[in-house]
Subunit: 166 residues, 3 copies
Amino acid sequence: MAAASDAYVVDAAPPAVQHKTLTVHTVHTTQFMDVTRLIEAAVQQAGLHSGVVTVQTRHTTTGILINEYEPLLLADFKALFERLAPARFDSAHDDFLRRTVNLTADERPNGHAHCRAALLRSSETVGVRQGLLDLGQWQRVIFVEFDGAQRCQLTLTMMGTPMPKR
Amino acid sequence: MAAASDAYVVDAAPPAVQHKTLTVHTVHTTQFMDVTRLIEAAVQQAGLHSGVVTVQTRHTTTGILINEYEPLLLADFKALFERLAPARFDSAHDDFLRRTVNLTADERPNGHAHCRAALLRSSETVGVRQGLLDLGQWQRVIFVEFDGAQRCQLTLTMMGTPMPKR
Amino acid sequence: MAAASDAYVVDAAPPAVQHKTLTVHTVHTTQFMDVTRLIEAAVQQAGLHSGVVTVQTRHTTTGILINEYEPLLLADFKALFERLAPARFDSAHDDFLRRTVNLTADERPNGHAHCRAALLRSSETVGVRQGLLDLGQWQRVIFVEFDGAQRCQLTLTMMGTPMPKR
């Protein structure tokens, strides 16, 4: 339980703020999409050298998960969320005879998908060091969809210092 | 699974830091409180133009959830957390004959409320673009209480560039 | 449900970015480690006056939890995660006869540990005010291990304004 530390890395230049919206298309009801490379590309395109990138989903039946992207593990995750918030439960949100709020013409029963999303995060923040995402060996940033197929937007907010000019 | 992107929005002025504490009062044991407008108002009062706002709860039986604020869906969420961490479980934290740490005079059995809170976030970070919270159409920032009624504090940390002067 | 607010605290100096890696060693399979003091020490050593610190784990069977660090409550948390994602479930990730991706020589069955970690956060962001972590009375930053013993790295990204010079 002891703790050690490495040297500090200090960037003196004032950080700037950059925003970027990523659009992705899910094709399955439940889908795990590795968006790590999209985020890395955005960070590099933005010229961010040192700081953070916050990844947000803009949808309420989706979430952000940082974990290993191994196909059989994704099957385990799918089974986990199906067990914790089963599709065939008596969702009040899906009782269209009672419900009066936020009803749209193409409403579909998805109370369970909201419940699964509630167990994930809407945002995760990842450090950026020397232009690279500060992730561990097995970590990938995964966009999780529980009510696809749909067009989805992810928002990136990048704050930090720019790449040094050569 | 393809990805597209919009143009970058770059703010050159150095970001500043602002803090704000919001005090809210919960009145029910389990309560979902939409605090989106409080956060929006704080961001506007602070004059934040572009950056992020981090929303934190300062309480250990509460959490931050970004999802749809539809009354029947909130009933689904309540049922979900009651099912995953039932109130009538054999909580060690509530065994006041064994417990010796962090005991207060007005201690109440709330091990289940801590467990529910552990399944939510203590903080979420939301992008701010042109003075507005970068949320999707159905997304609201919800403060979730599992052991009310009580007086609660939420902390906002706002970082970014100020509104341009006119 | 009313809301009040305190005065704004504005720091005019431009924020800087600092990174720090903490190395910790877990000794139990499931372990809750209070890392609050390590983070506080890093913030003070970095001279951060006002801003945020983002705490990330770099491991996929671990998570960050901000809650009360009371020994019997930790037993409740342990029981909660063991119940929600039991060790003896039929994990596809642990089916080494089927699995072909990310297999290492010392692979151990830990699909359940990934599932538990998926219910926690990889990162939490905590405000820093006047050099101190902005946490509530009972809040501690807890590093949660579900597949120890192992050597682990936590990453801190600190952004904000420096301590005023005396």
